[in-house]
Symmetry: C2
Subunit: 441 residues, 2 copies
């Protein structure tokens, strides 16, 4: 053990996560000390409003002078769980410049200003840890940064937003409409009164930007991510997916294209029911990783909530405390690979397209011709009459986004096509079917 | 970067895993250098027989003088992938005593001599990493040692042997008998010609001993593990499990009992089909972790094979190389908690018991009385006639192993009980059903 027999911590934010962190540091102190090599003590907590009730958090530690937390002379580690871009960004940079290590759970900030913050940590020779920023309690940042760092990651594909996964699970299992499930989710506190950040995929986009940066050793920001949400999904979409033994999930995907660029996107996606991600229900999160040597890996658990997020923060806190006690620093982000970012137009996936067409001879031929003209190859077609109209459900082979877009645009101009009801991407085969031969034990 | 612009590595063993490690260090050198802060070079490879054909491995590096690998003056990191207890143990200890860091994939060795080896690493101030020793490519050692180190692990429950999971998957999905699937598995190379270590649970026992030590900060060796295998399972057992929506898996379980002792065991176990572990098919592995704050976590992937195991070895190699380049040491095992080990007699689980009984009035009453007498409470009974006999399938509530054992022993002495056909443990509820309220995103 070093001379530091007590490591002093400053906390920014005392909401659900911050309060839980403060309580756990207090209640688990002997275990944390045994694992860290030093006692850990919270000495100051910066909040916006001292007056609020925070059970289990000592009022004496609270201050509304946030700056004083990051400039506190005794503080060696700052934990930022206040969220938002400013003043979080300035405070973290100031802490790092003051040679304090930082733990943050702030995905939006890292996805926007990650490069600046990583550089400040490196320049000052201190640690910056953020396991809690992505998928709550699930260890995914450290495995990507340290465990499979000797391998080549090909793809990261995750369910990283619990609100939307809860909504999609209910729509699938209870045949409920998007609107009714969203209302129910808001009533239960699973969704915000303004659900935009979740349902439009912005939250997932920030998280996958962070994972993509780690996986591909390339700086990826939120503006590099294509995001499309779930608010337009209908019960019929879910029903069609079920009929072909698939389920719809909001997936965040980062991969290296065959041209060596990084593609990062968030969109509702059909995956086979036998795929490990299909079994991830309700508010649970999971991240699926494909690497050259390791093959398929999946990390599953709780993506949010006070206690799970606090667990991730405390793991980081112990790691940094060990470095202070015994020397050393954690692994650094690197962007040495510096791959180009692929635009969504150049990304190839399979698609499921649902059309409302006139029920008369020759329609299918014309529709098929339109796909062929734009180099989109059809895998299966399912036609079902319903009075004067028919529904065409078309699954394509892998096609470029831009080719699919021009196909859809031309379909919309055809008289016999009354409506393009939906266009959804399709991913994934069950890995335990396709390639079990390479793993024996 | 430090003065070490090249880090020299000695390799012990050049079988499937060792050859793959040597090839990858060669083929991925620029990526490994960028991630490690130094070039990594294999300078010597110790093998038992230099004459063997090893594609992609330079003959010039081979030596049959294993000692020379661990005493080589330029070698800073020794990678041990030869397996077995001796000479692996002596060689690793000699390397550590010579201030070389060690990466090992040797689960049997760590489960038997872990305490001695960890102590040698600590005494010499060098790193000892062994991600590849448990569940191949799946990052589980580092998450337990570093990610959830700020939390309290309550339970670790894993499918950590691919051979038995392959056999059980085929028995379940193809209604095949144990013997026929084992023969098929041997033919395909999934099972050894002597399958004892896998099918009797010894391999899983070594792995769960390692995970238990990490999870509970307590030294757990293979002799502390209760192990029972799958060779006595019948198609009827699988069928009964299916009828009650369960599946049988060989689970390795480590948990803290309500008396504060550590229970570590391996046995075939019924789990609900909705449990995340139930979906782990064929040769895949998965480890399920329950922690106080984090809740349920699962880690899934390939548990064996040359490339997946090599991926884990290279991740450890990069971590140690970073320490050599930039300073610092990895997290250490700790046994500060030093919890007592619970004997299997004191472990409580639910049970499924299948009896062949005489089909006459009063049998059920007598059987029920026998359970009650030994304080084992029955949850459900299913009786089905088959000629002169009847089959009784009894699910109990949670009961102590010793109470169940005395119940079974008395049942066997009853005239009307022709045979106790099977006794199987039952675990698990689907976490995404029971407690989704605590995690939102």
């Amino acid at each position: 053990m070093s001379a530091n027999s007590v490591i002093k911590v400053g906390l920014l934010g005392a909401g659900t996560v911050g309060s839980e962190v403060a309580r756990l540091i207090e209640s688990d102190q002997s275990d944390l000390a045994a694992r860290s090599g030093a006692a850990i003590e919270v000495v100051t907590i910066g909040v916006r409003d001292k007056g609020k009730d925070r059970p289990g958090v000592s009022r004496d530690l609270l201050t509304e002078d946030l700056d004083s937390v990051v400039t506190h002379p005794d503080v060696e580690i700052v934990i930022e769980v206040m969220g938002g871009i400013e003043p979080a960004r300035s405070l973290i940079v100031k802490a790092l410049n003051g040679k304090k290590s930082v733990v943050t759970a702030n995905k939006a900030l890292l996805a926007k200003h990650g490069a600046e913050i990583f550089a400040a940590a490196k320049a000052n020779g201190v640690d910056l840890y953020y396991e809690a920023a992505v998928a709550g309690a699930i260890p995914i940042v450290r495995p990507l940064r340290e465990s499979i760092v000797g391998d080549r990651v090909k793809r990261v594909m995750g369910i990283v937003n619990g609100t939307t996964n809860y909504i999609l699970t209910k729509m699938d299992e209870e045949n409920a409409s998007y609107d009714s499930v969203l209302k129910e989710a808001q009533r239960l506190g699973y969704a915000e009164s303004d659900p935009t950040a979740d349902v439009e995929g912005h939250d997932a986009a920030a998280k996958i930007a962070i994972l993509a940066s780690l996986a591909f050793h390339t700086s990826v920001g939120i503006d590099d991510v294509f995001a499309s949400g779930i608010s337009h999904l209908t019960s019929r979409d879910i029903e069609i997916a079920r009929a072909i033994d698939h389920v719809i999930k909001l997936l965040a995907i980062a991969e290296v294209t065959n041209k060596g660029a990084v593609s990062v996107r968030v969109h509702p996606t059909l995956i086979p029911r036998s795929h490990p991600l299909a079994a991830v229900r309700n508010a649970f999160n999971a991240v699926f990783v494909e690497a050259k040597s390791a093959g398929e890996l999946m990390f599953y658990g709780r993506g949010a909530g006070g206690a799970p997020t606090a667990s991730a923060v405390l793991g980081d806190l112990v790691a940094i405390s060990r470095h202070i006690s015994f020397g050393g620093l954690g692994g650094r982000e690197s962007d040495y690979a510096d791959l180009p970012i692929a635009s969504i137009e150049e990304v190839a996936t399979r698609y499921l397209i649902r059309l409302d067409v006139a029920d008369r001879p020759g329609v299918l031929a014309t529709v098929a011709q339109t796909f062929a003209k734009h180099a989109v190859s059809i895998q299966t077609v399912r036609q079902s009459g319903r009075g004067e109209d028919a529904e065409l459900v078309i699954m394509t082979h892998s096609a470029l986004d831009k080719d699919l877009a021009s196909t859809v645009s031309e379909l919309q101009s055809l008289d016999m096509v009354k409506r393009v009801e939906s266009v959804l991407r399709v991913e994934g085969v069950d890995p335990s079917d396709s390639s079990s031969n390479s793993a024996r034990k």
